[in-house]
C-alpha cells in the first residue's frame, strides 16, 4: 500500500536538468512575423508600403505647391528640380497632386476595409454562433445583396449622393462586408465545437464573451488574409471609377482622375500619365505581395 507521501516524490536533479525546452516561448504574432520575414518579396513590399504611406501623409505638408494651384505660365512642363513630376495642363504640380491622390486611395482602401471587417465579423460571428434557422435566414438575406455586382451599387450611389469620397466608401461597404461575414461564419462554426470554447461555456462565460474574446481571436487568420486582399480591390475600384469619370470630381486629385486628365495628352506628354499610374500600380502590387506573404505566414501548412 502506497502511503500519501509516496505518491509524489521530487525528481532527482540530474533527471530534471536533462529535460528542458530549447525554444523560448513566443507569442503567435511573433511567430507569424518571423515566418512573414522569410518571404523577402513580401517583406520588401511591406517596407515599400510603409514608405509610401509616410510620404503620402506627410508629403503635401512639405510641398510648396497646393494641389489645386493653377499656374498658367508653367503648364505642361517636364520634370525639373522645382516640379519633381512636372506640371499638368493647368500648371498644377503633379508631384503634389499624385501625393493627394495617393492619400485618397489609401484612405478609401483602408477605411472601407476596416468598416467591412468590423461589420462582417460581427454579422458572420453572430450567424455562425447562433446556427440553425437564424443562421440560414441571415445568410440567405445576405446572398441576395451579394449577388449584385458592387460596381453597380457604387455607380447608383454616386449618382444619388454626388461624386465624392463618402459615396465611394459607402458603395464599397454595402456588399464588401459579406465576404468577411462568410469567412467569419465558417470559422466560428468550426471553432465553436472545439474544446476551448466548450470549456469556456462550461465555466459559465456569456455567449458574448465567448464570441468576442475566444472565437474571434482564433478566427482572425483567414480574415486577415481576406482583408489585405480587399484593400487593393477597393483602391482599384476607386481608380477605375475616377478614370471613367464617375469617381471623385475635380479639383480633387485622385490617381484615377489624374490618369483621366492625362489621357488626352498621352502621345505628347506621356509623363503626365506615367507617374500616377506607376504610383497606383506600386500601391496595389505591394498590397498584393503583402497579402500573399501573410497568407503563407499564417498557414505554414499551405506553403509550397
Amino acid at each position: 500500500m502506497l502511503k500519501k507521501e509516496d505518491y509524489f516524490k521530487p525528481i532527482d536533479k540530474r533527471v530534471q536538468d536533462s529535460e528542458f525546452i530549447a525554444l523560448k516561448p513566443k507569442s503567435f504574432a511573433a511567430d507569424v512575423w518571423e515566418r512573414f520575414r522569410e518571404n523577402k518579396l513580401s517583406l520588401f513590399s511591406l517596407y515599400l508600403l510603409l514608405s509610401i504611406i509616410i510620404i503620402a501623409v506627410s508629403g503635401p505638408f512639405l510641398s510648396p505647391y497646393p494641389y489645386d494651384g493653377m499656374n498658367s505660365s508653367m503648364t505642361n512642363r517636364m520634370m525639373s528640380i522645382q516640379h519633381w513630376f512636372g506640371t499638368d495642363q493647368l500648371g498644377r504640380d503633379l508631384f503634389t497632386r499624385s501625393l493627394y491622390g495617393l492619400r485618397i486611395s489609401l484612405l478609401i482602401g483602408f477605411i472601407s476595409t476596416f468598416i467591412n471587417v468590423g461589420l462582417g465579423m460581427v454579422y458572420g460571428g453572430i450567424a455562425g454562433y447562433a446556427g440553425g434557422k437564424a443562421d440560414m435566414a441571415m445568410m440567405r438575406f445576405v446572398d441576395i445583396i451579394y449577388a449584385v455586382p458592387s460596381l453597380l451599387y457604387i455607380i447608383l450611389l454616386m449618382l444619388l449622393f454626388g461624386s465624392n469620397v463618402r459615396s465611394i466608401m459607402l458603395g464599397i461597404c454595402i456588399s464588401g462586408w459579406i465576404g468577411i461575414a462568410r469567412i467569419t461564419r465558417a470559422q466560428v462554426i468550426t471553432l465553436k465545437e472545439r474544446d476551448f470554447s466548450v470549456a469556456a461555456y462550461i465555466q459559465g462565460a456569456s455567449s458574448f464573451r465567448i464570441l468576442f474574446r475566444h472565437l474571434f481571436v482564433n478566427a482572425l487568420g483567414p480574415i486577415i488574409v481576406e482583408a489585405t486582399l480587399m484593400v487593393p480591390q477597393a483602391i482599384f475600384m476607386e481608380a477605375f471609377l475616377s478614370f471613367i469619370g464617375v469617381g471623385i470630381s475635380a479639383p480633387e486629385a485622385s490617381l484615377g482622375t489624374l490618369a483621366q486628365d492625362a489621357r488626352m495628352y498621352l502621345e505628347i506628354y506621356p509623363y503626365q500619365m506615367i507617374f500616377p499610374i506607376a504610383m497606383l500600380c506600386l500601391v496595389i502590387f505591394s498590397l498584393n505581395f503583402i497579402s500573399e506573404g501573410l497568407g503563407q505566414a499564417l498557414n505554414p501548412k499551405d506553403r509550397r
Binding site: 518579396l41 440567405r140 446572398d143 441576395i144 445583396i145 449577388a147 449584385v148 455586382p149 460596381l151 453597380l152 455607380i155 447608383l156 450611389l157 449618382l159 444619388l160 487593393p232 482599384f236 481608380a239 477605375f240 478614370f243 471613367i244 469619370g245 464617375v246 490618369a259 489621357r263 498621352l266 502621345e267 506621356p270 500619365m273 499610374i277 497606383l280 500600380c281 496595389i284 502590387f285 498590397l287 498584393n288 505581395f289 500573399e292 509550397r304
Partner: protein
Amino acid sequence: MIRYILKRLAMGVITLFFLITITFFLTRIMPGSPFDTANISPTMLETLERNYGLDKPLDQQYVKYLSDIFHGDLGLSYKKPGLTVNQIIARGFPITLRLGAGAFILALIIGIIVGICMSVTGSEINRGMLLTLSTLGVSIPNFVLAILLMMIFGVSLKWLPTLGLTTPKHYILPVVSLAVYPIAEISRLVHSSYTEEMNQDYVLMAREKGLSVFQIRFKHILKNALLPVITVSGPLFAFLITGSFVVESIFTIPGIGKEFVNSINNRDYTVIMGLTIFVGAIVIAANLLSDIVCVLVDPRIRLDKK
C-alpha cells in the same frame, strides 16, 4: 439535384427583382427633373412628364415599370429622344459579348496551361517566377494595362491598331487587356488545386497501374482540378463585363460599356437604369450558370445537401 437548381433559380429571380427595385427607387429619388427645365414652359413640362409616365404616383410608376420589363421593354432614353434602351442594348451587346467571350476563352486556355506548368515544373526558380508574374498580373488594373499596351504597341511601335473594331487585328489589344487579370487568377487557382490533386492517392495508384503520364495528367488530375475554376468563372465573367466599361472607353469600341459610361456622364437616367438592370441580369445569370455547372460536375455538393 433538380431541387437545388430550382432553388438557385428562385434566388436568382429574387435577386434580379431586388436589383430592379433599388435601381428604380434610387433613380427616382434623384433631385431635379431629368428634363432640361430651364427652357421649357410649364405646360410643355407637363406634357413631357405625362408622356414618360412621370406624373403618376410612385407606386403606380413602379408597377408600370415592372410590367414593362416583364414584356421586355426597358424604356426610352431621355437624352436621345426616340431611342429605346432595347435598341442601345441590341447595338452594343453583341460587340461587348465578342470581346468578353474572346477574353474569357483566351484566359481559360492560357490560364489552365500556365497553371499546370506551375504545378508540374521541377525547377523551383521557374515556379517562383511564374507565381510572381501571376501576382503581378492580378495586381495591375485593367485600364492601366490597356493604356500601357496602347502606348507601347499602338503608339510607339505602331504594330497594332488602337481605335475601333474594323479589322480582326483591332481585337487583339482590347481582348488582351481584358484577359490578363483572368489569366493570372485562373493560373493561380489551377496551380493550387492541381498541386493538391497531384499529391492524392489516386495519382499514385494510376502510376502503379502503368498509365501514361499524359493520360494521368490530363484525363485524371485535370478533371478534378478544374472545379475551382468553374466556381470562379461566374464572378470572373462579371469582372470581364465591368472591365469592358473602361476598355471600351479607351479603345473607342461601341459596346455596352461605353454606352453605360456615356449615359452616366450624361445623367440619362432611363438608360442608366435599363443598362444597370441588363448588366445585373447578365451577371446574376452567369453566377447561376456556374453554380449549376458546379453542382452537375461535383457529386459531393449534391450529396452534401441533405
